[in-house]
């Protein structure tokens, strides 16, 4: 039921086609691919520069550009399904109603293996999204999605890796029906010029790892998926050793597009060594 052990993180695999080029002969076949966040209506995304490099990572305010659900269902999803990817659609909405709508329509689309609910995006990344400040906000979104999406397919909650709130947030999502929690989203940060954004990459790995460990300790029955700075077997195993069921690769793909293929191969040959 829990995808993995290596998944592509939301927003870091393009539309899938670009990534497939770097995945060897098999392409995306059998790969757990989380799409960029899809909204009901198309979003153009934020103005440039959307991403800036800082020591150890990237600050981004990409703004969730996506073609909207209709277009996604007509073009990107069928391509991913044909490529053999196990498609987990990341969804983002402005209201609970939008989340429910997205979940209902995606439940009927052929080839959707699961959903990932983007409930922890930093403010500037998720401009116009349903505001999630408190654990009960995310829980209500998860509940709305879970009601519309078949129980035999996973609903993942992607949370902000804020160690002071993570256990509370994960528990609420779990109680609301989340199959697993993804920890975590980009960390709220600022660009060098002061604009708001989210920090990702190796710089946040220790932060996300701490959050995974706390949740695994407090809620051993809830599967966690580690996301943040995963780029090789060692960094992936750090999450698995801390109790994660699986990991997602994000920013590392922007640095080396072959990362996912290499990690999958490494896990197939020697899952727990480096």
């Amino acid at each position: 039921m829990i995808p993995g052990p290596v998944m592509v993180a939301a927003g870091c695999g393009g539309t899938g086609r670009e990534l497939a080029t770097y995945c060897g002969d098999d392409g995306l076949d059998g790969l757990d691919f989380v799409t960029r966040s899809i909204t009901l209506d198309a979003r153009a995304g934020g103005p440039g520069p959307r991403i800036e490099e800082v020591p150890g990572g990237l600050v981004n305010a990409v703004g969730l550009p996506n073609p909207g659900l209709e277009h996604f269902l007509a073009t990107e999803l069928p391509w991913l399904v044909r490529a053999g990817a196990r498609v987990i659609v990341s969804i983002a909405g402005a209201t609970m109603g939008e989340y429910a709508d997205l979940a209902r329509r995606l439940s009927r689309a052929p080839g959707v293996a699961g959903l990932e609910v983007n409930v922890g995006a930093p403010d500037e990344v998720g401009v116009g999204l349903f505001e999630v400040r408190e654990p009960y906000h995310s829980a209500s979104v998860i509940a709305a999605v879970r009601r519309e999406f078949p129980a035999d397919r996973p609903v993942l909650a992607k949370l902000r890796p804020d160690v002071s709130r993570i256990v509370e947030g994960a528990r609420s999502c779990h109680e609301a029906g989340a199959t697993a929690v993804v920890i975590g989203n980009a960390v709220p940060a600022a660009f060098p010029d002061g604009r708001s954004g989210g920090l990702s990459g190796p710089a946040i790995a220790p932060v996300a790892l701490r959050c995974v460990a706390e949740v695994a300790r407090a809620l051993p029955e809830l599967p966690t998926i580690g996301c943040g700075g995963v780029h090789d077997l060692r960094s992936a195993n750090a999450y698995l050793d801390a109790g994660a069921a699986s990991v997602q690769v994000g920013t590392a793909l922007l640095h080396d597009p072959t990362t996912v293929a290499r990690l999958r191969a490494a896990f197939t040959s020697s899952p727990q060594e480096d």
Partner: protein, 271 residues
């Protein structure tokens, strides 16, 4: 041309490095990349200690040399960021992770029409391999190379083999005609009698060239440079505002949907 397509991710090696004016020219071996290259493509390289990659224009491709097939890239040497400065300083023998060729290349005319190529600074690089391809097709090539000053002028000498005429412009008049592309492009286009305008360089140069083409009833293609964090289309971090074929405003990725686009499709005021 060979049948191989699509980018590859390989280990490149610096086999020569040469400083020309304000730029550093690196010659690289990169297995499979020169064979796949088409003018207007770029490559992305990994810079030690940096997460984002550096996108580089390809200035020249050699099908064979004593190192086998090679490609030349132009790197800004002075006033560049720390990653680019690191790259410029690498000696012969340095190995780099390189992905390429990336992006949509220039489209070539089917007929032997006359073409005006307008470029400025290091970003004029893709016009040089383009000029060679156009000449092979029997197109008359008029090349305009511009720069703020002589040190940032990409050497136009070697292009004389491929071009019918070469015009040099510098803003300070240190060499060639004084002035900018915007000052001279309408006149140069009229004299070249070109049906197609190709431009590469800063946005102001591309906009001037696209505008002149539109006024003269010519087609234009521009190679747009914006910050491209990954270069491969994965991050959606590079922003190119365009008008679609259907007249709808869109924002596309410079790296995957560009860098070469039709000049009349770019929403310059939003760039």
């Amino acid at each position: 041309m060979s049948e191989v397509q699509g980018p590859v991710h390989v280990e490149a090696e610096v086999v020569a490095t040469k400083r020309i004016g304000g730029y550093r020219h690196l010659t690289l071996t990169a297995p499979g990349v020169p064979e796949r290259f088409r003018a207007g493509n770029f490559v992305a390289v990994t810079v030690e200690g940096h997460v984002a990659r550096r996108a580089l224009w390809v200035h020249r491709v050699r099908a064979s040399s004593s190192y086998g097939p090679t490609l030349d890239v132009v790197v800004e040497d002075r006033g560049a960021g720390s990653g680019t400065a690191w790259l410029a300083a690498q000696p012969v023998g340095t190995r780099l992770a390189l992905t390429g060729p990336l992006g949509r290349p220039f489209a070539l005319p089917k007929d032997a029409v006359s073409c005006l190529l307008v470029g400025e600074g290091y970003a004029a690089a893709p016009l040089f391999p383009l000029a060679e391809r156009l000449r092979e097709r029997g197109c008359g090539v008029s090349l305009v190379v511009s720069a703020p000053d002589e040190s940032r002028l990409l050497a136009a000498l070697e292009a004389r083999r491929s071009a019918r005429s070469v015009t040099v412009l510098t803003a300070d008049g240190s060499v060639g005609l004084r002035g900018t592309v915007a000052d001279h492009v309408d006149d140069l286009l009229r004299r070249s009698d070109a049906d197609v305008v190709y431009a590469a360089g800063p946005h102001a140069v591309l906009r001037a060239a696209a505008g002149a083409a539109e006024r003269a009833g010519a087609w234009s293609q521009v190679a747009v440079e914006t910050p491209t964090p990954c270069g491969t289309g994965l991050c959606h971090g590079c922003v190119l505002p365009v008008v679609g074929e259907d007249g709808v405003d869109r924002v596309v990725r410079t790296c995957a949907d560009g860098p070469v686009v039709r000049g009349d499709r770019v929403r310059w005021e939003a760039l």
